[in-house]
């Protein structure tokens, strides 16, 4: 392999690694825009991962598998929404619990499935696998360099980009998005203008959860090629939380952020040992170090518009005095 080939392979792998992060980030951005901080991204991704995996195994249909992942993420988010929006409980505690719940459920179901499978291994339906493989767009894919980098990805990768652009347009250029942002910034102001605060919160927490669920589906069906492993999500939900800050709550900047962190994730596979020889642990540490740096720098800079929605983390009571 030439150096150029290696570089392309490296960047391609970075894109692959960035997709689940992007889903998680977009889901959480949508949730936080409604004024709720949901620390359960990791949990919702786990729920999406196991449910998508299970559904593809049972039904052998890619669309049903993805729908189940989306619904599973939504179900996790629905628990969270009920507890925080209706019962008005603490958002941080609820989100953390959701992460533990999702992680536990997914690992449990995954182990049961594996131990009861005929040969001790579960293999995904070939039809699903084929559907999620990188697309071949004919002449576009044949183009040198860009063909591989831009036009040879799984349909879920393109869906992630489409989701990001759609969210951007929705948040910043639609009246519903304006109302949603108002709910997240100042629910009392939105309420006084007749916006149904609880309904907006529910809808967007649920949609955000569904998007996180798709990130989980990508991990179990594409990254792991349908081969369930314990701890399959492995902290990517937490990185997505940091990416929300990195991208300063912008779906478009989230694409960039996910790519940066995807690159960090695969860096260790592509740096030749004879050039830089450091233990692998350092590479695994990188995303977290960068996250810490991002948190430090993002607390220094930033215009008001690029900060966390002001109402985030605080439950809204209309009759509060």
């Amino acid at each position: 392999m030439t150096f150029a080939d290696q570089l392309i392979a490296f960047l391609y792998a970075a894109v692959l690694a960035s997709v689940p992060l992007l889903y998680g980030t977009l889901g959480e951005i949508l949730i936080e825009k409604s004024g709720n901080l949901n620390l359960g991204v990791e949990g919702m991704m786990y729920l999406g991962a196991i449910t998508g995996f299970l559904a593809s195994y049972l039904f052998g249909s890619p669309l049903i598998a993805l729908a189940f992942s989306f619904l599973a993420g939504m179900a996790g988010a629905a628990i969270y929404a009920f507890i925080t929006v209706t019962l008005k409980a603490n958002q941080n505690v609820t989100g953390l619990t959701l992460t533990m719940f999702g992680t536990g459920v997914a690992n449990f179901v995954g182990e049961v499935l594996k131990s009861t499978a005929p040969a001790g291994a579960v293999f995904m339906n070939e039809a699903v696998k084929a559907w999620l493989l990188p697309l071949n767009l004919g002449p576009l894919t044949q183009l040198p360099v860009v063909g591989k980098l831009l036009f040879n990805h799984s349909i879920l990768t393109y869906l992630a980009i489409v989701t990001a652009v759609t969210l951007h347009l929705y948040l910043n250029h639609s009246s519903l998005g304006l109302n949603l942002r108002a709910v997240g910034e100042n629910p009392a102001a939105a309420d006084a203008m007749g916006v149904n605060v609880s309904r907006y919160k529910y809808i967007h927490i649920l949609l955000g959860g569904g998007i996180c669920g798709l990130g989980g589906a990508y991990i179990s069906l594409v990254t792991a090629l349908g081969n369930w492993q314990p701890d399959i999500v492995g902290g990517q939900g937490w990185i997505a939380m940091a990416l929300v800050i990195f991208s300063s709550w912008s779906p478009l900047r989230a694409i960039l952020g996910a790519l940066v962190f995807g690159t960090l994730n695969v860096l260790h596979l592509y740096v030749p040992r004879d050039v830089v020889n450091i233990p692998g642990a350092f590479y695994s540490m990188l995303p977290f170090v960068v996250t810490a740096l991002v948190l430090i720098f993002s607390s220094i800079r930033m215009k008001r518009e690029h900060q966390q929605p002001a109402g985030c983390g605080v439950n809204y009571f209309r009759e509060e005095r």
Partner: protein, 501 residues
Amino acid sequence: MTDTPLAISLRGLTKTFGKVVANDHIDLDVRTGEILALLGENGSGKTTLMNMLSGTYQPDEGSIWIRGRRVNIRSPREAIDLGIGMIHQHFKLVDVFTARENILLGQKGRSAAPDEIVGRLQLSIDLNKKVYNMSVSEKQTVEIIKVISRGADILILDEPTAVLTPQEIDALFDLLRLMKQEGKAIVIITHKLEEVMAISDRVAVLHRGRNVGSVQTADADRFLLTEMMVGRQVGLSIQRAPMQAGNTILDIHQLKVLGPEGQPELQKVSFTLRAGEILGVAGVAGSGQRALCESIAGLQEIAGGSILLDGKRIDGLSPREIIKRGISMAFIPEDRLGMGLVGSMDIPDNLLLKTYRDQPGVLLRRKAAREEAQEMIDRLDIATPGLSTPVRKLSGGNVQKVLLGREINLSPRVLITAYPVRGLDIGASMTIYDMLNEQKQKGVGVLFIGEDLDVLLSLCDRIVVLSGGKVTAIVDSKFATKALLGMKMTGLATDKEDAYA
């Protein structure tokens, strides 16, 4: 006038919060094309009553009739649909949005034409300006456009003048008269008699959650309204306690303080404060009052001069050391809770904030603080559902009593108090003045930064006039006049000050 249709009719409206009855079977009528002033002391239930009209609160009992039809207003959305627009005292605006975005919020694409409203009412506002860059009066204008753009023909304004300058108040009143001519029914909540006389057609008075009656403004006079409002005849003049001239406690000498951009906030400020006197500080807003308070309390660094307490320099000491030496400050900012109290904590814990360091050991002793708090509640007549109620749930006047009461409990030698009656009604203000007089007679030196010249003249022994960060006069208030003070504070602002003083 009586044959014009009723815009609002309230019958037997009741609302309770815990044990506190905020509104007790209130009947009230508002006609179209009239401005009704809803007058009452702090905590008399004015805002609660109007919040039931705006859909923010649900009444426990009673009925609401809008244009002759009985309605249940279950949410702000339903209030908007009924044509009711409320402008809250604490603006409900999204800071990171522009004026236009705030106005279009929740409109579902219906064309609201904010530009047309701006033109029709001849408002001076940039609709594309972000709210966080706006002055208070600009924000209020946005609120007004908001309700008008929703087609509101019943307008409720909650204390709209509290944070405006006299010029801005004039402009607001002109706007209200214009909207009245358009046939809107307007309710203005206030506790300022001058405004009632200036703007309203009729005035309804609330006292302790009850409607004690309404009169045509033309037939009303200040004494009658005051009597209705406080439920008893109060002297409008403040008693000045006799002064036992003591020694100089605080000596400010050639004080110079620079602002964040290096601009001088105070220059060559010199005066003395004696034990057992109330020294007033007069000046238009922003003349350096805040820098003066903060530099004495050690919160702001000084750039020159000296501050002496009992002949010893205290400038450069830490705030804690200065408190230890007997200087206490109660500064009431515009938002009251912003400085000095923690809103989510109850009264005993807020008292402990200042005293916990004096306790031995690592654990807090709450019992003493609770007793102290209970004693303060009784002595100052603080209305609170209980000891453990967070202070942010108290009404403004009660919050101020807690703030000042806490400083007094420390038995200070010098008490600095800035705007202690800001936003308070006559009854609550009187209590505060009594507290200050009591301190004076105990031999405390009181520095009183005030707004109202009448109050300064009748309460203080001497008055320091600040203008642009410099002392322009130090006068004995027995021989001073408002005109003199006004002149020293500089021209135009003084005339306005008098008009609303």
